[in-house]
């Protein structure tokens, strides 16, 4: 009897959401971030993927001051089913965090899964299909060992034409690094400077996988992985999750005193094979996505106060400065050398530790970036606060540049 009543109420609520009486001014409304949560990234032998997701969801709901009953839909990003040892993990996570019969999407865009989730959630709200959407990104990767994890990730390369040669993620980016050094004189030292920055800020981030500073010498002399990249040039294989709650402008203003608006979105793609790229020193998808996002938000690269860019490898961060317009093409090495991406520099970048020391649980990363920029724009980033940050940017790349999402946030 109870079940029937509960079920009927639930269905009535769901149907009234779509009733004609409900006015939809959604197409002109802004969409904002009203709640954020983060699990500890790391080697988490103590939690399964569903528990990691829950660890991020609880603080996100508390932060927003709402409960699961107030969520209209979920968008869940997990990049690699085999690593989770669960096919279609979206359903698993949605169920475990208590979202019941609400609509749910699972998204995947390789390492850009998290930002793909944010984009989908934004779209649902803007289309009037939901008013409050929970985005969860989660991944478990450490339980299989490095060479197996590398194997699964290597299969994201073209499995007919590039994967069989043993090119992997570090391998693909190593090919780009060598080319960048050849074309622009970027140095081995400059690559390691990125790692030093990443670790300096990772220490200040309680959610970071690695909380240990590294010296330039240690970074330079670490074990080679795919030359010219060595261990400290490569992001960590991590377990983790992050969650953000997006809401329509009307709901956001009711839920939060400090909504952070996502005012610019850009997305683009590129060739599957790196041999078919127009350039090995730049990601076309980044440039195109950034152009769209800047235009939509009505800002330029000079307006960005704080950024989270996709530093899967040190060279990727250097290229991101150039492709996002923070500096000129070829001057990314100089940008890090002059400390322009440190707090106090031109565009503080990855001051949460980045993928390199915060860690890179594939599906969680993009959502973690949204978490960080929201914190910065709210003025809640503590020791890592960029003072007066008003406009932020997240840049999330999938695979070797096949997917890219750029989002711009304003207070």
């Amino acid at each position: 009897m109870f079940f029937t009543q509960h079920f009927t109420t639930s269905i009535n609520n769901y149907l009234s959401f779509y009733s004609e009486e409900r006015k939809c001014s959604c197409l002109t409304q802004k969409v904002g971030v009203v709640g954020i949560g983060h699990a500890k990234f790391g080697k988490r032998n103590d939690a399964t993927i569903r528990e990691l997701a829950h660890e991020a969801v609880i603080p996100a709901l508390e932060d927003a001051g709402i409960s699961t009953a107030d969520i209209d839909a979920s968008v869940i990003g997990v990049a690699c089913d085999p690593l989770a040892a669960q096919i279609s993990p979206g359903a698993l996570i949605h169920d475990y965090v208590g979202l019941g019969n609400k609509p749910m999407f699972r998204v995947e865009a390789a390492c850009a899964t998290g930002s793909a989730g944010v984009r989908v959630a934004w779209s649902l709200i803007r289309a009037g299909l939901a008013e409050v959407v929970m985005v969860i990104g989660a991944e478990t990767m450490t339980h299989v060992g490095t060479s197996v994890a590398t194997e699964w990730m290597a299969r994201a390369c073209d499995t007919r034409w590039e994967y069989p040669f043993g090119v992997t993620f570090p391998g693909s980016y190593a090919l780009m690094a060598l080319r960048h050094m050849h074309e622009f004189g970027t140095t081995r030292v400059q690559l390691s400077m990125v790692s030093v920055k990443s670790h300096k800020y990772g220490v200040m981030n309680p959610y970071a996988h690695m909380q240990k500073e590294v010296t330039l010498e240690e970074a330079m002399n670490s074990v080679p992985i795919c030359q010219p990249l060595n261990l400290y040039d490569c992001c960590l294989i991590s377990d983790g999750a992050a969650a953000v709650i997006l809401a329509s402008e009307e709901k956001a203003r009711k839920i939060s005193d400090t909504p952070v608006w996502i005012t610019g979105l850009g997305s683009a793609s590129d060739t599957m094979m790196i041999s078919e790229r127009s350039s090995l020193t730049s990601l076309t998808a980044t440039k195109l996505a950034a152009e769209q996002a800047y235009k939509m938000a009505g800002v330029s690269p000079n307006d960005i106060d704080v950024a989270c860019t996709h530093d899967c490898f040190s060279i990727a961060e250097i290229m991101s400065y150039e492709d996002l317009g923070f500096c000129k093409k070829g001057e990314g090495g100089k940008f890090i050398e002059e400390e322009q991406s440190y707090i106090g520099g031109k565009v503080p970048t990855n001051v949460d530790g980045g993928l390199k020391s915060k860690g890179h649980p594939l599906g969680a990363t993009g959502v973690s970036m949204t978490f960080e920029i929201t914190k910065q724009l709210r003025g809640e980033a503590d020791k890592r606060q960029v003072s007066g940050a008003e406009i932020g940017l997240t840049h999330n790349v999938g695979e070797t540049g096949q997917y890219c999402f750029v989002h711009i946030y304003t207070r």
Binding site: T146, S147, V148, T150, E151, M153, A154, R160, W161, E162, P164, F165, G166, V167, T168, P170, G171, A174, L175, M176, L178, R179, H182, V223, P224, I225, C226, Q227, P228, L229, M273, I274, S275, E276, L280
Partner: protein, 124 residues
């Protein structure tokens, strides 16, 4: 499409496809052009080129463990198209961007043939 490619590779020839509408070339071959056309014809790609980039892989994925270390390279062929493969028979210390290379077929098992790069022998 793969049958033709593989048969030609056994003879040491590299076959790509060219769009009949706009002339864009694809190596490895494919049936859809970015211009929107799916009418393509075969063309024979040059097997000589220059080393565009390379990397020595010392931490392989699990499936490649027994082959490590190996060198993955991208070559820019004489018609400006690029291709990725391993470069064999060479010490990583002697490599630099721009060295002349050529494509060679390699029968790796009874039913599998691939292409690899080798350094072009300089005429003495």
């Amino acid at each position: 499409m793969m049958v033709k490619f593989t048969e030609a590779l056994k003879e040491g020839r590299l076959m790509g496809t060219k769009c009949k509408k706009c002339g864009a070339k694809y190596l490895p071959p494919r049936a859809q052009c970015k211009c929107g056309s799916h009418e393509v014809e075969w063309y024979e790609a040059p097997t000589r080129g220059k080393l565009f980039s390379y990397t020595l892989v010392t931490f392989p994925p699990e499936s490649m463990t027994k082959y490590a270390p190996y060198i993955v390279a991208v070559a820019e062929l004489e018609d400006d198209s690029r291709l990725l493969a391993q470069i064999i028979g060479v010490s990583p210390k002697t490599l630099q961007v721009g060295l002349p290379v050529h494509v060679v077929p390699l029968q790796i098992s009874e039913d599998r043939i691939v292409y690899m790069f080798e350094l072009e022998e300089t005429a003495s």
